[in-house]
């Protein structure tokens, strides 16, 4: 039942700045299963958003994906390229070895993205309907295999219509606005982003991502900056849409409340690495990594006034290559730190009770797995739900 749709192996994204090399994503591996919500939780600066942008291939100079593979389940493309191709493994295609054009055409058709701040992710001078219409139109054009280059654009500009978005696409955009429960979609489509409220604009953002009809939706902090009631609305909407379309959602957030209400599995990210990965209930009930525990202790409990919030002291480590500690990146903030922690860099290992609950901590009890975390292109079963769970 749980087949992966994206398999990420040893992904490394670096930024080459004047300060030095920043290891924003430092060799992470995970699967996103079909129809699941995988959530990545972590503090600001832990590399969550860069992970999402890497999946979309939206990393700009001075950043670069330097290593790793992103295998995407795309039987058509795999068949088209043939099994002999290095970039093909069964029904999976390695996005990293695709040409830029083929790669780009997957954004907007198979992969969609919701951005953190809809106020800045919509162009202020174009109406919302137009912008969603563009997403619909570009999906349609890619599906028809049409090229759109400077020549086509100039022809468009010279023609009387001089518009990229066809009427059908605009109508579909109105339909999408309706689908995300925006009242009066026909009128709202003709309004500019600054005429929308924050919650409504985030809904429009969701509609824009849906325009691509994505197999995987990458949601980068979709609820940050919204009122609690509106947050709940957006989460409900995402859950509904996921149930309707069967897409997978890669949810980036720092809000644990949001995670527990929607995510099937959760990954705890810190210092460019995953410290823990497993089913949401399992991770939150029995956190195996001290950092996860620390995060949970930061959660206030509104029903219990005596509940003491324990902040994690210190700051997120610098991701600069030359400043990164040799051992565990969490070592200097960790309450359970030992000397060994500062020397050994832990890798994700399955916990004894649940095989699909992985933890990266040398003090955590781990199953007697003899090998370290596999980085090969073959699917390690423990990475996805599909692996035999010990508690089932």
């Amino acid at each position: 039942m749980t087949k992966p749709i994206i398999k990420v192996r040893n992904l490394k994204t670096r930024f080459f700045t004047e300060m030095g090399q920043v290891n924003a994503v430092d060799g992470i591996s995970f699967d996103i299963n079909q129809g699941e919500v995988l959530s990545v939780v972590g503090e600001s600066g832990s590399g969550k958003s860069v992970t999402g942008l890497s999946l979309m291939d939206l990393i700009d100079s001075p950043g670069q994906i330097t290593d790793g593979e992103i295998w995407f389940h795309h039987p058509d493309l795999a068949a088209e390229r043939g099994a002999a191709d290095d970039a093909v493994d069964g029904e999976f295609v390695n996005l990293r070895s695709l040409h830029q054009k083929a790669r780009r055409s997957l954004c907007g058709t198979e992969l969609g993205m919701i951005f953190q701040d809809p106020g800045s992710a919509f162009h202020p001078a174009l109406t919302v309907g137009e912008q969603i219409g563009e997403a619909v139109e570009s999906r349609r054009r890619i599906a028809r295999g049409e090229d759109y280059d400077v020549k086509e654009m100039l022809l468009d500009l010279c023609s009387l219509r001089s518009s990229f978005v066809s009427d059908e696409s605009y109508d579909e955009a109105i339909g999408l606005l309706e689908q995300v429960d925006i009242p009066d979609p026909i009128d709202r489509a003709d309004e500019y982003p600054h005429e929308f409220s924050g919650g409504m604009l985030q809904r429009a953002m969701v509609a824009q991502a849906l325009a691509s009809d994505p197999a995987v939706l990458i949601a980068d902090e979709p609820t940050t900056g919204l009122d609690v009631t509106i947050q709940a609305g957006i989460i409900d909407l995402l859950r509904e849409l996921q149930a309707d379309t069967g897409m997978s959602i890669f949810l980036i957030t720092h809000n644990i409340g949001v995670v527990s209400s929607i995510a099937d599995r959760v990954a705890i990210m810190y210092g460019g690495k995953f410290l823990e990965l497993g089913p949401t209930d399992r991770v939150f009930e029995k956190p195996a990594n001290p950092y996860t525990e620390g995060l949970l202790n930061c959660l206030p409990d509104p029903t219990d006034a005596t509940n003491i919030i324990e902040p994690i002291h210190g700051n997120v480590p610098s991701l600069l290559d030359h400043e990164m500690p040799a051992g565990c990146s969490y070592a200097d903030r960790c309450p359970a730190v030992t000397e060994e922690c500062t020397e050994t860099n832990p890798s994700l290992q399955p916990t004894p009770e649940t095989a699909n609950h992985l933890v990266a901590c040398i003090h955590a009890e781990t199953a007697e797995s003899t090998t370290t975390f596999p980085v090969a292109t073959t699917t390690p079963s423990v990475l996805s739900d599909g692996g035999a769970s010990a508690d089932e």
Partner: protein, 330 residues
């Protein structure tokens, strides 16, 4: 539509106030001048009586307020007075030389825009490469080269040394060239016009081109970092479309503003270039009048340039508001 009408009406009313201010200021300038126009007009050996008579004839002995009111009523009716040196209507003389200046100003404007905007885009998208460095260096040169020096160097190199283009003058206007083409099927008029246009256009437009290049490059660089550009790529939009619809649109706002301001500047600021190329335009007219203390002529020129500024600025505001819906027409 109603908004637009309202905008133009209210801005025109404001414009009228500004123009009234210009006329008043220009009128006041005359009283700073130490020269007595009557003496300039009169022959060198004229008697005091003759000078007095001319003064009375010109109305110079009237109270200032009366002179002011009569000048203002004249201007409102389109009468800019008579030239002291030629005793012909100022308006007629300005209308005669205005096309030469307008042609030159627009040519310089078009040259600057056509070169600077694509260059700015290329430079910004190839940031840090050789193309960018060369373009930056060129624009630095363009901004820091005085246009009279550039004009002289162009003439020396291209006209005198290479003999490719004529050194100066404007033997034929654009309108005349077109008329020759249509009625006599003779393209010679237009080519003559063009060959005389090229050097003054480059001399006048280079500074402006370099300025617009910098504005475009910075604007595009800033826009490229915006999240909506990332979002546009994320939804699969083709690159040229992102560049046109998402990046250029916002980065052009300062370009349009400066273009409008500079157009007025090009009309008024072509004085030096016109002098170098013996261009029979409004700038040269102004210099000649200045040398002769021909106040009515100078006043007329200043008023026309001022009106040009005001009108172009109204249009610039209008274009800006249509580029950006957040700027409301007001």
């Amino acid at each position: 539509m109603r908004e637009e009408v309202q905008f133009f009406v209210s801005r025109s009313l404001q414009g009228i106030v500004v123009i009234w201010g210009i006329i008043t200021a220009v009128f006041m300038f005359r009283f700073i001048s130490p020269t007595n126009p009557a003496r300039l007009i009169a022959p060198d050996d004229a008697s005091e009586e003759l000078v007095r008579a001319i003064e009375i004839d010109l109305g110079l002995n009237d109270p200032i307020l009366i002179q002011y009111v009569s000048y203002l009523t004249g201007v409102v009716q389109g009468d800019l007075g008579f030239s002291y040196s030629t005793n012909t209507p100022v308006r007629g003389r300005i209308i005669q030389v205005l096309p030469a200046t307008l042609e030159l100003a627009f040519a310089a404007l078009i040259f600057a825009v056509i070169v600077s905007i694509p260059l700015g885009i290329i430079s910004a998208t190839h940031r840090g490469t050789k193309i960018d460095s060369v373009a930056n260096l060129t624009s630095l040169g363009g901004v820091s080269t005085p246009n009279f020096w550039l004009a002289i160097m162009l003439v020396l190199l291209i006209s005198v040394q290479l003999g490719l283009l004529p050194t100066s003058g404007r033997p034929i206007g654009l309108g005349e060239g077109i008329r020759m083409l249509i009625f006599q099927a003779n393209i010679g008029g237009l080519t003559t016009w063009l060959s005389h246009m090229i050097l003054p256009t480059i001399a006048l437009g280079t500074y402006f081109m370099a300025l617009l290049f910098r504005l475009t490059r910075n604007g595009v660089l800033e826009e490229l970092g915006k999240e909506y550009v990332l979002a546009a790529r994320g939804k699969g939009l083709p690159n040229p479309l992102i560049m046109y619809r998402y990046v250029l649109r916002n980065s052009l706002t300062p370009v349009v503003t400066v273009t409008g301001l500079q157009l007025g500047g090009l009309i008024g600021g072509s004085v030096v270039v016109e002098a170098v190329f013996a261009w029979p335009g409004i700038g040269r007219l102004f210099i000649t009048s200045l040398n002769l203390s021909d106040w009515p002529m100078m006043q007329g020129v200043l008023i026309i340039v001022g009106v040009g500024y005001v009108v172009t600025n109204i249009f610039v505001d209008y274009i800006n508001s249509s580029l950006n819906p957040q700027v409301e027409l007001a």
